[in-house]
Symmetry: C2
Subunit: 213 residues, 2 copies
Amino acid sequence: MPDCAPPIFSDQFRNDLFALFKWRRDVRRFRRDPLRADTRDELIATANLAPSVGLSEPWRFVVVDDPVRRSAIRDCFEACNADALRAQDESRASLYARLKLAGLDEAPCQLAVFADRGTQKGHGLGRATMPETVEYSAVLAIHTLWLAARARGIGLGWVSILDPQRVAEILEVPADWTFVAYLCLGYPSEESDVPALVREGWETRDAVTLLHR
Amino acid sequence: MPDCAPPIFSDQFRNDLFALFKWRRDVRRFRRDPLRADTRDELIATANLAPSVGLSEPWRFVVVDDPVRRSAIRDCFEACNADALRAQDESRASLYARLKLAGLDEAPCQLAVFADRGTQKGHGLGRATMPETVEYSAVLAIHTLWLAARARGIGLGWVSILDPQRVAEILEVPADWTFVAYLCLGYPSEESDVPALVREGWETRDAVTLLHR
């Protein structure tokens, strides 16, 4: 039976939730301590509570443990990152080169996340005019996992400097899965309430843009 | 100065966070009570803490208050939804027709969210091979707003049954903004820990899919 009496969240909870948003970080520096497999699976099960278009639950999690595949992913990152460095303005290239943009060497747990464009689940509801909501659903699951991890002191880093086609080949996933993100998980080796890209002088935080119509 | 001492989240907080994920709903039935503008703006400011590719913060929030524009959005939804109904299998069409898929008539607060593909902020970091991470960043902001709203007892409904090009025309936004979502916000007129699409027999919740590679 559905429960129709929602929890009443306290001011304390709302303050802690704000702190969670504030302290969630894109983590690129990890300790080598392992992440327990049952912890990983609990986080993924929590991610499954995320919203999805038409309740299609199109997120697909791939646990990447095979050292050969991990090495191929790292090679893919290195190649894409070298291309990105070459594309930087001369004035920013040396700063770019100093950034640590992924924890692929150290992160004990690595997950690739795909969106299943072929799923019949949800019967197409809500995605006829916006098929990209399938990938957006996977993004919502990733963010749910990210927050649940941070609430346990576990950091997550989202790696997007990858060739999606190559990642799909390395991981041998079905052809109609779209690559969404490669996630590094583990215990952070540094903590801060300020994003690394701010601390390193790459970018600043700005106030939100609001239009009225 | 960055703060390097992260909050230690309690078991109570983690339990409440799980309840928040469980009770977050895609709300389509709203009470008519207004949502205060300062509450709306606080939620949007919280959304601004979301992760974004290269710290590009590419989310753009449009507050839609003009009755003429709201009416045009509703017309767009009605047209897209009529198309979606016609595309349903015969066996599911009558069920589809009974679903209430948006709270556009009642929701006191309505926001359109776009992703700014033209932003220079972030200097392109992280999006050369995956430009869609710009839209994904906006999705992360939406989910942050959604959870912050729910923690205050405020419901959010994500409307995707819209023609993105038409929405951009109605709201007269810059040409390089991608439409991501139209959000209805307000106080829910019903509460449940079970998604409406489950209660209405449209779809079920499934266990998560996990591959090992």
